[in-house]
Amino acid sequence: MSISIDQVACTGCGRCGEICPGSLIRADREGKAEIGQPADCWSCTACLKECPAGAIALYLPPVLGGSGTRLQVKQEGSLLHWRFTRPDGTLKTITVDRQSANRY
């Protein structure tokens, strides 16, 4: 599975590379984040949550039925705004409050 990194939005801060549990992300020649082996990604979304620029998106590969929807997340206090962008450009947002527990 994997992530895609928006090279324009990335500021090269290196935070995603620090915290990836598999140490999969490194800096490319221009100092921007790059994932060495996309197939090694566990899709844990740690890097999405840590990226201050919102430059990282998660997608499902075709072999798992992915059709190109991208998932991003933005933190605002205790809130996590998860944004799904479908291939046709339509959006869906789900906001999770860390201060409210899972109901199930």
């Binding site: 598999g22 590969p61 201060q99 527990a101 899972n102 109901r103």
Partner: protein
């Protein structure tokens, strides 16, 4: 390569659930110098990277730790260490209280009690459990955290452990870490068997793919006794995304149904192994695939399920969103995963005494790496960490330093891998060969989790060859060196695992593995299969059931 030597009062290897908690316990016990070494970064490493959404080990109102032992015993078909489960269960609720103090959100009912999901389970928002733990660890001045250091071996004389050797994952630095007490908390092992999904989705696995079983491997190489590795863990998971199913089943009341819509759970029993076995049997009877079906859900309930999965396995929510939204019932195809070795769910791992000391003095084990104590989960891993820490402090001042040739040997080995310009085979290719061998010959998914002695013998021979081939690998940099070390750890674990599968001549947990030569459960096998590496060979040791609440090693 540069070499750095550090000394500490306590060395903790692995900064996951158990390791971070051990560090916090050490600080509470006013230990002067604690070193916590982690191959990734404690902020989001290990199983807790994405989050969890329940604490699966808890003693609910009206129940006792003894009830927990009985539950674990039944689920494991009798094969547990009651002393370990009991001592863990006794501390569960205190651990939960401590987590709440750290800022973990726990659902409460109208009277202010934790809202229980069954009597062993409480609901939380655990998306940020790991960052909360990490922040608490960082706030302790006595704890030095070494992130991005992969530990590869113990400083040991075969009887005692007094430190460890590691390598930088990013910088070419060797670390020699010395301490009179060492706690191993490196988690379990994934990646030994061929995973459910191919190629680009191969790491869409349930267990943390970066936990390569290195704690087991280091123990095995140093001569520690291991137990019950043959009780592999096969998880029942959502097809494709391999996301956990507990939230749907216990939380939303979803039932396990076959293709004909029949609820068949009763037929195979409600143990963890029985549920997996049922899925396969229904498939063999032509009634597959199985699904988890939750009906009559309100839009609000669906939204809550979406959130629950975002907090733990975000790809499942992504998959639902991709599939469209007009749903009032959620029906998810389920399947078994590839087998993992995880002492926190099943019983495979280090053979420890009640205080969690391994058979190597000065080395303690906690969490998924420690055996004999299934049903630990997050809170139980932490309970064990505290038990191990307290035992580790006891008498630590009496253990002298060890003179070990390991640092020099490890350095020479690493420099060989790094010095080679190229090799015919890549680490990835050998990893694939390991997974194929284990899948086909040692009871992987592809073999319907079944195996026979003849195939296990072939696997053994092939694993020896792969081990030899792995010595000729080349690493262009430190991250590639870590990959080689992970592969070698998995090969070591696989070798011991195959010996265990061969040694248990019965089928005790049919969902986790079927020994085709011995397809039934036998009372005479209600004993532990243990092992120890001796002069390069895995030696099997049978041990009688431990009864009562205390077990000590006989040295």
């Amino acid at each position: 390569m540069k070499s750095i030597t550090l000394s500490a009062d306590i060395l903790i290897i692995g900064g996951g659930a158990a390791g971070c908690y051990a560090a916090l316990s050490a600080a509470r016990h006013r230990v002067g110098r604690v070193v916590l070494v982690e191959k990734a970064h404690i902020e989001r490493s290990g199983c807790l990277a994405a989050g969890v959404n329940a604490l699966n080990a808890y003693i609910g109102r009206g129940h006792t730790p003894e009830d927990y032992v009985e539950y674990a015993r039944k689920d494991a078909e009798g094969l547990i260490r009651p002393d370990l489960v009991l001592s863990m269960a006794r501390r569960l609720n205190e651990v939960v209280g401590n987590l709440e103090k750290l800022g973990l959100t726990i659902l409460k009912d109208s009277e202010g009690h934790y809202a229980e999901r069954g009597w062993r389970n409480i609901k939380i928002n655990g998306e940020n459990l790991k960052p909360l733990l990490a922040a608490a660890v960082r706030a302790e001045p006595a704890v030095t955290v070494l992130n991005h250091v992969n530990v590869v071996s113990y400083l040991s004389d075969g009887e005692r452990v007094a430190g460890a050797v590691g390598f930088g994952v990013r910088e070419p630095i060797q670390y020699v870490l010395k301490a009179p007490a060492v706690i191993c908390a490196t988690g379990g092992a994934a990646g030994i068997y061929r995973p459910n999904n191919p190629g680009s989705a191969r790491q869409a696995m349930w267990y943390c793919p970066f936990n390569s079983g290195s704690g087991y491997a280091q123990g095995i190489r140093a001569g520690a006794e291991m137990t019950t590795l043959e009780m592999r863990f096969v998880a029942l998971r959502c097809k494709d995304t391999i996301a956990p199913t507990g939230t749907l089943a216990q939380g939303a009341g979803a039932r396990q149904v076959n293709r004909l819509g029949e609820i068949y759970e009763e037929r195979y029993g409600f143990t963890t192994s029985g549920r997996i076995y049922g899925v396969r049997q229904e498939e063999l009877a032509g009634r597959g695939p199985s699904r988890l079906r939750a009906e009559n859900l309100s839009p609000g309930q669906i939204e809550d399920l979406y959130k629950a999965y975002l907090n733990m396995a975000p790809t499942q929510t992504l998959s639902w969103v991709e599939q469209g939204e007009d749903i009032s019932s959620l029906s998810v195809e389920i399947e078994g995963t590839e087998p993992y070795i995880i002492g926190g769910h099943t019983a495979g791992g280090y053979w420890v005494d009640t205080r969690r000391e391994t058979t190597l003095r000065g080395l303690f084990a906690a969490g998924d790496v420690a055996g004999g104590c299934p049903q630990k989960y997050v809170s139980g891993a932490m309970a064990e960490a505290e038990i191990a820490l307290e035992a580790a402090l006891d008498g630590a001042e009496l253990r002298p330093e060890l003179d070990s040739p390991e640092p020099a040997r490890c350095l020479a080995e690493a420099e060989k891998f790094l010095g080679r310009p190229a090799a015919l085979f890549t680490t990835g290719e050998l990893a694939e060969a390991l997974q194929k061998t284990m899948d086909e010959q040692a009871g992987g998914r592809g073999a319907g989790y079944s195996y026979q002695e003849a195939g296990l013998n072939q696997a053994e021979a092939r694993l020896d060859e792969l081990e030899d081939l792995s010595l000729g690998l080349a690493a262009a940099n430190m991250p590639e060196l870590m990959k080689i070390q992970e592969l070698r750890d998995r090969l070591t674990v696989a070798r011991s695992l195959v010996a265990h599968l061969k040694a248990r001549r019965e089928t005790r947990w049919p969902g986790f593995g079927l020994h085709l030569d011995y397809p039934r459960k036998e009372d005479t096998w209600l004993r532990y299969v243990n092992s120890r590496l001796k002069e390069g060979r895995v030696e099997i040791i049978f041990r009688d059931m431990v009864r009562g609440d205390k077990y000590e090693h006989q040295y």
